[in-house]
């Protein structure tokens, strides 16, 4: 019998799966019958059995106590939500009736409010105190957001940004930890000031990238277009209060030595992450592992610190963390393995962990 499909599709057949699970108890006669009926060789069956047994998921059963707790909570939530059973339908009718009346009554209220807002008190708008908004990008995710002034921001994994819900006063103040790419809207009267660590980045409207993860004691600012001025509370740069960056330049500010280092490199190295591309350009191995850990939301432990300072260049697009490490290990003497994830007593799963060791 010639089959049009790959033999592995047999696994989707329930009766064939039953054959595979009982295979060892089969007599030679029955085995031969299976080979004939399905047009398979003994080798085919062996591969299919390995695949079938390998896909046998093992369920982590929750402890009974945890399930009971979740069940009790559910029952409790149910009783809390229910109000006066039986009279529900009657109440509902009353509610519908009431909302109809309310809907008619609210029209004059809206007209009156609009009148007051726009004609009477248009001069005296009370200055509301702006509230701070904080957005976190969880490890493993890239988030985009739009500021109140329509500026667009890409927030890299494991980063957070805060800003007021309304920009008022003379500057647009934003503070950042981690990495973000800005497309700031132009406003000459009201510059945007991004605070990262001890550094302030002042812009009028440009595209730029800021990289300042607390785990690395440097702040990197890359300018794509427009102009940007750096200033610091800690002191002056070359005797000046502000240091200007040109498009295409990347400035690295070391918070410990307070040194500024200017390089002209392809800005794509620094902004590729927002398009899902991972680029390592003369990165040390430990920073590579840190950024993979943030990007894929997985713990990576470097067991041998002698590898930490090896420098590497690489570009990845749409690869899994497994594949990236495998490819890196071709050129660098290391190997890696998964460590069983910790299962905490409350039944939650910890993150998977990858250990990297010297080969």
């Amino acid at each position: 019998m010639k089959r049009a499909e790959d033999i592995s599709m047999l696994l989707t057949d329930k009766s064939f799966r039953k054959i595979l699970s009982e295979w060892l108890e089969f007599s030679d006669l029955r085995k031969a019958e299976v080979y004939r009926n399905y047009g398979l060789t003994p080798k085919d069956v062996e591969i299919l059995r390995q695949l079938f047994l390998g896909l046998d998921f093992h369920l982590y059963e929750h402890p009974e106590a945890n399930i009971e707790e979740a069940l009790n909570e559910t029952v409790w939530k149910l009783t809390e939500r229910k109000f006066i059973p039986g009279e529900k339908s009657h109440l509902k009718k009353l509610y519908v009736q009431f909302s109809k009346i309310a809907a008619v009554l609210i029209i004059p209220v809206i007209v009156y409010t609009a009148y007051i807002q726009f004609f009477r008190f248009s001069q005296v708008v009370p200055a509301e105190k702006p509230q701070m908004v904080t957005v976190n990008s969880q490890p493993g995710t890239v988030t985009t957001l739009v500021l109140p002034d329509e500026s667009k921001i890409w927030l890299n994994a494991g980063s957070s940004i805060s800003y007021p819900n309304v920009f008022s006063g003379s500057i647009r103040e934003v503070s950042l930890t981690g990495e973000a790419y800005f497309e700031a809207v132009k406003n000459k009267e009201m510059p945007m000031v991004v605070s990262v660590g001890g550094l302030k980045v002042k812009v009028y409207g440009t595209k730029f990238n800021v990289n300042a993860f607390p785990s690395e004691s440097t702040v990197k600012v890359t300018l794509i277009e427009g102009s940007v001025a750096l200033s610091s509370k800690l002191g002056k740069f070359n005797g000046k209060n502000e240091f200007f960056i040109d498009p295409g330049q990347t400035v690295t500010f070391n918070e410990e030595s307070r040194n500024l280092d200017v390089k002209t490199e392809d800005p794509f190295y620094y902004t590729a992450w927002k398009d899902g591309v991972i680029i390592f350009h003369n990165h040390t191995f430990d920073t590579v592992l840190k950024s993979l850990s943030r990007r894929f939301n997985i713990d990576i432990e470097l067991k041998d610190q002698s590898l930490a300072t090896i420098r590497m260049d690489a570009t990845f697009r749409d690869e899994s963390v497994n594949e990236i490490l495998r490819l890196l290990s071709l050129s660098t003497p290391f190997s890696f393995y998964y460590e069983a994830p910790q299962k905490s007593p409350d039944g939650t799963f910890a993150k998977s962990k990858i250990c990297v060791v010297k080969k």
Partner: protein, 208 residues
């Protein structure tokens, strides 16, 4: 004995629960909690959210039990509900945080060896290779493999869960299985060759 058989039968439990039997509701909850949690955590990787949404699934089916239809596969029904509620909940949370906020990407959890049954007939080498192959699948492919081989849902049910057509799903399954088979193909061939070698060597010894 008849009662006991009844309690093992999902359809019986479902009908009794619809009639308002709290014991059957509790039994369904206990029976499916671990499975639903595992599905949720593997696809959405947020323990608190998953727990809350499972409770929401059961709250909703209890509150609407009178209008619920007959369900052919309770497990499939619960998984579809859970997925819908989690997605709706995530959307709600995002809207609350900031208008215009969008989650671009969500990396799924990787599997590890403990999550598969150990069978003596497959070597650790093959298991590791298969695990790597499973981890290199796309999120959708992994969800498909879990739903089909672990939860044993039918194509039609999985199509409803994932939200694609049955032919597209079959196509995806075809590509997935070929990928997995090819990954272990070489390795298992090696062990087969070893077997043949043993067989022939014992044969020749006899002859001499």
């Amino acid at each position: 004995m008849a009662q006991l058989a009844g309690y093992n039968d999902d359809t019986f439990l479902w009908n009794e629960f619809k009639a308002g039997d709290k014991t059957c509701f509790n039994t369904l909850f206990r029976r499916y909690y671990s499975e639903l949690y595992y599905y949720g955590i593997k696809n959405f990787s947020d323990p608190d959210l998953v727990k809350e949404c499972i409770q929401e699934v059961f709250i909703r089916i209890w509150e609407t039990r009178e209008s619920l239809g007959n369900v052919e596969n309770v497990r499939a029904y619960l998984i579809v509900s859970l997925r819908r509620i989690i997605l709706a909940q995530k959307k709600k949370v995002m809207l609350q945080q900031h208008i215009g906020l969008r989650q671009v990407e969500n990396s799924p959890f990787l599997f590890d060896l403990n999550e598969f049954e150990k069978h003596e007939e497959i070597s650790d080498g093959v298991r590791k290779i298969l695990l790597a192959a499973i981890n290199s699948l796309t999120r959708k492919q992994r969800e498909l493999v879990m739903l089909f081989f672990y939860y044993e849902l039918s194509y039609a049910e999985i199509a409803e869960v994932i939200g694609i057509t049955v032919p597209a799903l079959r196509n995806l399954m075809y590509r997935t299985l070929i990928h997995l088979r090819e990954s272990i193909g070489e390795k298992s061939l090696e062990s087969m060759n070893k077997l043949f070698f043993l067989f022939f060597s014992s044969f020749s010894v006899k002859k001499v």
